[in-house]
Amino acid sequence: MLNTERKPITGKRVQLMATCLCDAFYDDVAAATVQVLEYLGVEVVFPEGQTCCGQPAFNGGDWAASRKVVRHTVKTFAGEEPVVVPSGSCAAMMFHGTVLEFENEADLGEVEALGRRTWELGDFLVNGLGVKTWPGRFEATVAFHRSCHSRGTNSSSAASTLLGSVAGLKIVEFGEGEQCCGFGGTFSVSFPNISASMGALKLDHIRAVKPDVLVSGDMSCMMHLGGLAKEEGKPIKTLHLAQVLREALKNGKLL
């Protein structure tokens, strides 16, 4: 089972782990995360030394390289506040992956401690802060992709709770929702054929229910699916959960 045990939330200050993907490609997702948290009165601190959670090398099988990055991350996110990350995948790396690769290391304890205070954004909002409904308005039919790293965690149900409560927003289920989109980190480039076939299947299922927008808590899946759709010449609109929540606030003139 995943190591999903969390420290309860006290105080209203968090550290933001923006993720390397948002740092490099999806700045608006990180910005939306900040706006959503601040709307709830949470003070967001961004430790500037942050880089990446270490997952690429962990999944690629180079644990020594990954540990180097994780040690840097542990130092960067020193403190007691919860760490909030707009990615189920990076969150799972912090509370599960790191524990695996540090199992024989002397500093396992520090790594575990960071994992216990790291939250995926949706999970933090719903289960950390106790937010069960989201104000504002978002007129759209939404297909929600449950990313694989949220298996065994509370993230997917949290996202569904939030999205389902937004006025104007309708969630549509699509076929084989439990199947992977085919991204898989280094898998996407070392097994490009299988990865793309998996993505194509996912896109077929999504297109069949004709959503206005595809939403996920993980930009890596969106980068893969969005990129595939674009390359096929049939682009789809993708948004991160944080962006939908922020847009709902804007539409409701709450931001």
Partner: protein
């Protein structure tokens, strides 16, 4: 080699085969989910309990094996120990020769696939006939099973009809009932002619020495009905502590494997014929096979020995569905095979070190496994082992330079801005293999490195940026 073998295999797979594997697996998975969740309030709890029971067995094999041996002997069974595949095959041959037997009927057993028993016996002039319909078709075709429960998931009935015709089993007819009737007719005579029946065992109870066999075709019962000698080839991990535990395991196995509440035939075999037990063969042997299992036990992947060979992880696996079982070049394909097959190679691990890479680590296998094996964690451990043993891995981007960047904030920030270059260059021409592989199938979003950090500093309101943390000296000390 530039490509991962499994990815290449999938790309070249016939559309028919892919469709057969995909449909067969998907159907199996969906029926399983419905059955488990319709009937049990909390199937995950059952999986966890079953996992703990098997893990307990795996970690205490040293006490359970002697206990089982004593029970079996007391029941009148002759027990053999085979450290290797070769030793297991020799043990079977020895028993056959001692009886002057030349004909064997075989039920489906994965251990005998590991040891390639049928080929071995045929080389020694003994007929060893597969009686499970799927295995029979694989045998007459000179093919290999591609799934541990449904050996011919990769074939459609037209192919089967053709091979029946070629093997003198009647004119071309692809009606499934006709195919089954012809096989049954052919096999009936063989059961009567054979002297020895060989089976595996799905479970062996340490408490009673009972062997448990499940089938849907009843072929294992036929194998044992007319023959005088029963040989069971059993992996050393097949033990459950008590008869009582069988309730849980039989329920989970049938539901997970074939989406049945219970398999059609469930046999409990306590030993050969005796004054108190008038039924059964005159002579019964159990051959416990190691064939690399103790090495798996000594590794940090021993959890895989809990496996009860249900095939659920194959059915749910998106990679298996795209690539088919033969892509894995092993008796055990799919997620379980990606862990077990390289481990069972011993020193030759590098030859199959690519198998654990053939996964997006989506975790679906862990979610369905009736004994709750954390397969993705084990795949990751094996990837790291391959790296530590310097096994080359085509297509996997090197991580050294990235790790260097990602542990130095200043260099990281510089590269965030520097990355902008990809907005202006035709990336298909860049000599970066990972980028080319990405772009062959997917377009890359625009590079916006550093934009978020800029936004955070320049937006109205407070700039919540904490001072850059640790110095390089500190980072170094930590590593």
């Amino acid at each position: 080699m530039r490509f991962q073998q499994i990815d290449q295999f999938a790309a070249e797979l016939k559309a028919d085969t892919r469709a057969a594997v995909y449909d067969g697996s998907k159907k199996g998975h969906e029926k399983r989910t419905k059955l488990l969740f319709d009937e049990y309030a909390d199937p995950d709890r059952l999986r966890r309990i079953a996992g703990e029971v098997k893990q307990h067995v795996v970690e205490n094999l040293d006490t359970y094996l002697p206990q089982v041996e004593a029970k079996l002997k007391a029941n009148g069974v002759i027990v053999h120990w085979a450290a290797t595949a070769e030793a297991a095959n020799q043990a079977v041959l020895g028993i056959m020769r001692a009886r002057g037997a030349t004909k064997m009927v075989k039920a489906k057993t994965m251990v005998s696939e590991e040891t390639e028993l049928a080929h071995f016996l045929e080389k020694h002039g003994i007929e060893a006939l597969e009686t499970d319909l799927g295995e029979f078709i694989v045998q007459i075709d000179g093919d290999h099973p591609s799934h541990i429960v449904k050996p011919i998931i990769h074939k459609n009935r037209r192919e089967i009809a053709t091979s029946f015709e070629e093997n003198g089993l009647g004119a071309y007819n692809d009606d499934p009932q006709t195919i089954t009737r012809r096989a049954r007719h052919f096999l009936r005579h063989k059961y009567l002619e054979a002297d020895v029946g060989l089976t595996g065992a799905n479970f062996v109870s340490a408490e009673s020495g009972r062997l448990v066999l499940v089938t849907n075709e009843g072929n294992s019962r036929f194998c044992l009905a007319a023959t005088k000698c029963h040989i069971a080839m059993v992996g050393i991990e097949k033990i459950v502590p008590r008869d009582y535990d069988l309730a849980l395991f039989l329920n989970l196995l049938a539901r997970s494997g074939t989406a049945q509440e219970l398999t059609v035939y469930t046999e409990f075999i306590s030993g050969p014929k005796s004054p108190t037990q008038p039924d059964g063969p005159e002579e019964m042997h159990v051959i416990f096979v190691d064939n690399g299992r103790t090495e798996v036990l000594a590794s940090d992947c021993r959890d895989i020995l809990r496996c009860i060979r249900c095939g659920a992880c194959l059915n749910v696996c998106p990679v298996y569905r795209q690539a088919s079982g033969h892509a894995y070049r092993s008796v055990y394909p799919g997620p379980v095979g990606a862990v077990l097959s390289p481990l069972m190679m011993g020193d030759k691990f590098p030859q199959k070190a690519d198998l654990p890479k053939a996964s997006s680590l989506c975790g679906a296998c862990h979610e369905v496994c009736p004994v709750n094996i954390p397969i993705p964690d084990l795949l990751l451990r094996l990837r790291n082992r391959a790296k530590e043993e310097n096994v080359p891995s085509p297509g996997t981007p090197p991580m050294g330079a990235w790790a260097l960047l990602a542990s130095q904030p200043t260099a990281w920030r510089a590269s965030l801005f520097g990355g902008k270059i990809i907005n202006y260059l035709p990336t298909k021409l860049l000599p970066i293999p990972a980028l080319r592989a990405w772009e062959a199938k997917r377009s890359l979003p625009a590079w916006r490195g550093g934009e978020f950090r800029k936004w955070l500093k320049t937006r109205k309101g407070r700039a919540n940026v904490s001072p850059p943390a640790p110095s390089r000296a500190e980072a170094k000390k930590a590593d």
